[in-house]
């Protein structure tokens, strides 16, 4: 997994330390399991700042594997990961549509 450099149109993702669940950083510096509610960065500096917030959360031992992901706005105006691997991360295994986050209602943490 090659690390992305900060740029515009990115999200911060990680895994919840306690549960392992895939989470995304919001503008309010909280984590959500729903990428549509995540912060979409407007610039490299913005991504940098969000990454800083995520690093603090990592230092508080709340999340692991903090990383930047490419994202874009969908037709409904909400953001979503644009790469295949992150789409699979957000939803669950493509071979088990009955499982994974795709099969669940998403609460905000």
């Amino acid at each position: 997994m090659a690390d992305l450099k900060p740029a515009s149109s990115q999200m911060i993702s990680a895994n919840d330390l306690w549960t392992g669940q895939v989470v995304f950083l919001t503008r309010a510096a909280s984590w959500t399991t729903d990428p549509a509610r995540a912060a979409l960065s407007e610039s490299a500096e913005d991504s940098e700042a969000l990454l800083g917030l995520a690093a603090q959360s990592n230092a508080r031992a709340e999340v692991e594997l903090v990383h930047l992901i490419a994202a874009s706005l969908r037709d409904d105006g909400t953001p979503w990961p644009s790469r295949n691997r992150e789409d699979i991360r957000a939803l669950g295994p493509t071979v088990r549509r009955d499982l994974g986050y795709q099969a669940e209602v998403r609460p905000t943490l």
Binding site: T19, V95, R96
Partner: protein, 551 residues
């Protein structure tokens, strides 16, 4: 089955207490993410794409019904109702939370199981022939040696922070079912008429980015010296193995860069120094381990069973399954039954909790309480009576476990790939499913015969694609999943590495390409040649031409 004594049990319990403490230290911030990663991996816990993954060790692939029931229970309570048998005879769970992990491990410990050293840069779970103790081919049961090595390698003071992971396989049969020459150390047990019992020692085989069929360092190592020799190899590797680049850190690279002869000299010098001081305790321990192995008391039975013969005669599907999925047992009236975890279009190696319970029940009722996991992601009932086989097959069939495809085209090895794995570049499972569906038509696999297709979702090669008769490697090309095709690999006693055919294919294209390769084989084969024999006779040319046209 080896039964723990109090020492074995105590160590497993103490390791869980230690892990529980490490989790608490990570939560309180006393361990960094990087430090905790190292520790959780030593205890079998990964963080994958969607969640934590726990890989449970099944030492040398042996388990009993109580353990299999426990695995089912864990799938239900701590996971989402299923597990996945791996290419190293282990089982992994894809969804447990870290919160519950110590309790999960405690449940495993209650049935003498653990997840120690199923990940990390140390000596991993030792694998062995799945037909051990059941096949007439073997010199002796290799599992007591594997258990001796398991204990020696568990929390080894000196060799727990190696440059990279380290995999050991043990076999005692002429037919190799362990891919012994693709391991960091492969041990082949033999009885030499002059030198007595010992091992041929293969060192530095492996797959990954740079595949090697391992060279033989020793034609004959007396069995009593095995741990001393392992110590010499591991010390040499720990000191000299590369730590600057993870892709060059396996022992195969060290052996290759030094040359097998120079590496052998280093090991033999160290070995010669150790040998005079070597203790004879491991020999005594081997005897004790043998005594603690539960050896099934097999009945004296006639070689033929009229009930079996009648069912074989009348039920065509049963007959097909027996032909494809069974192997001869060393004792008359018994047979080895392979349970395929590769239903047509299914996910290779996946098994539901209910299926686990069924296998456990069948093993308890008909199979002297023994089950084996194979590196090809299937299960085995190693000791069943011919007269029970029809009942067993019927029960398996009802549960979706009766597919007759052992070592056939649809018996595909596939790593979890991008559907689960954080390292993967492309998905493996959907490719396996599509190829498998192509061979579901009745009779097609029969026509093709033995064919081993192996799929990896990245260059780490957990799907053993280098050793596939047909190998498929998933790569990422600018965000698109692409697949390279290799032909002519083999993981058996005549091990070979597959050769890349040419440019890669997309998801649909790779499935068609496999079809093309198989049709080309059928068009060229002579007499009863297998795919591999035809490929070895003709080389890649006709296959390349069929795939890419004349250039």
């Amino acid at each position: 089955m080896y039964r723990y004594d109090d020492y074995d049990q105590t160590l497993v319990n103490q390791r869980i207490a230690d892990f529980r403490d490490a989790v608490a230290r990570r939560l309180s911030g006393h361990l960094s993410e990087e430090e905790f990663k190292l520790i959780r991996q030593m205890n079998g816990v990964y963080l994958q794409l969607h969640a934590y993954m726990l890989r449970v060790a099944i030492p040398y692939g042996s388990l009993d019904s109580r353990q299999m029931h426990k695995l089912a229970h864990i799938a239900r309570i701590y996971d989402k109702g299923y597990g996945h048998f791996t290419t190293r005879q282990n089982i992994q769970y894809n969804w447990p939370s870290l919160r519950e992990m110590p309790d999960l491990l405690q449940e495993l410990a209650a049935v003498q199981m653990h997840a120690i050293q199923t990940s990390g840069n140390l000596i991993r779970n030792v694998t062995a022939d799945q037909y051990a103790g059941a096949t007439a081919e073997e010199v002796d049961d290799p599992r007591p040696y594997a258990e001796l090595i398991r204990q020696w390698s568990t929390l080894h003071p000196e060799f727990s922070f190696l440059p990279r992971k380290f995999k050991i396989a043990v076999t005692a049969s002429a037919t190799d079912r362990t891919a012994v020459k693709f391991h960091d150390i492969g041990l082949i047990l033999h009885d030499d008429p002059e030198q007595g019992r010992g091992f041929e020692v293969i060192v530095g085989g492996g797959m990954g980015r740079t595949p090697f069929v391992g060279p033989s360092l020793r034609d004959h190592l007396p069995e009593a010296q095995i741990l001393t020799y392992l110590e010499a190899v591991l010390r040499t590797y720990n000191e000299l193995g590369r730590r600057d680049n993870a892709y060059k850190a396996r022992i195969k690279i060290l052996v290759h860069e030094l040359g097998a002869e120079a590496f052998r000299t280093l090991v033999e010098d160290e070995f010669a120094k150790l040998l005079p001081q070597a203790d004879d305790l491991p020999q005594a321990e081997l005897l004790r381990i043998r005594e603690r192995f539960i050896v099934p008391e097999l009945d004296a039975l006639p070689a033929r069973d009229p009930g079996f013969d009648a069912a074989y005669e009348k039920d065509e599907d049963f007959r097909q399954w027996v032909k494809v999925n069974s192997a001869p047992h060393k004792v008359a009236g018994y047979i080895i039954a392979n349970i395929s975890l590769k239903p047509y279009g299914g996910i290779p190696g996946d098994i539901s909790a209910d299926q686990m319970d069924l296998v456990a029940d069948l093993a308890e009722r008909y199979g002297h309480d023994e089950i084996r996991a194979t590196h090809a992601q299937n299960l085995v009932l190693p000791h069943v009576k011919l007269r029970d086989l029809y009942d067993i097959w019927q029960a398996l069939s009802v549960a979706g476990l009766g597919t007759a495809n052992l070592d056939r085209a649809s018996d595909i090895i596939a790593c979890p790939g991008l559907d689960y794995c954080v390292l993967a570049n492309a998905r493996s499972i959907p490719i396996a499913q599509e190829i498998s569906k192509r061979f579901a038509a009745k009779g097609r696999e029969d026509l093709v015969g033995e064919l081993k297709i192996k799929i990896s979702g990245c260059i780490n090669a957990c799907g053993h694609h280098h050793a596939g008769h047909i190998g498929i490697l998933g790569v990422d090309r600018k965000g698109e999943e692409m697949y390279q095709l290799t032909l002519g690999g083999s993981g058996d006693e005549q091990a070979s590495i597959g050769q890349i055919t040419g440019r890669g294919f997309d998801e649909a294209g790779i499935v068609d390409a496999v079809d093309t390769v198989v049709e080309t084989y059928l068009g060229h084969r002579e007499d009863h040649e297998t795919f591999l024999e035809t490929y070895r006779r003709l080389g890649p040319a006709p296959f390349k031409e069929a795939l890419y046209g004349t250039a």
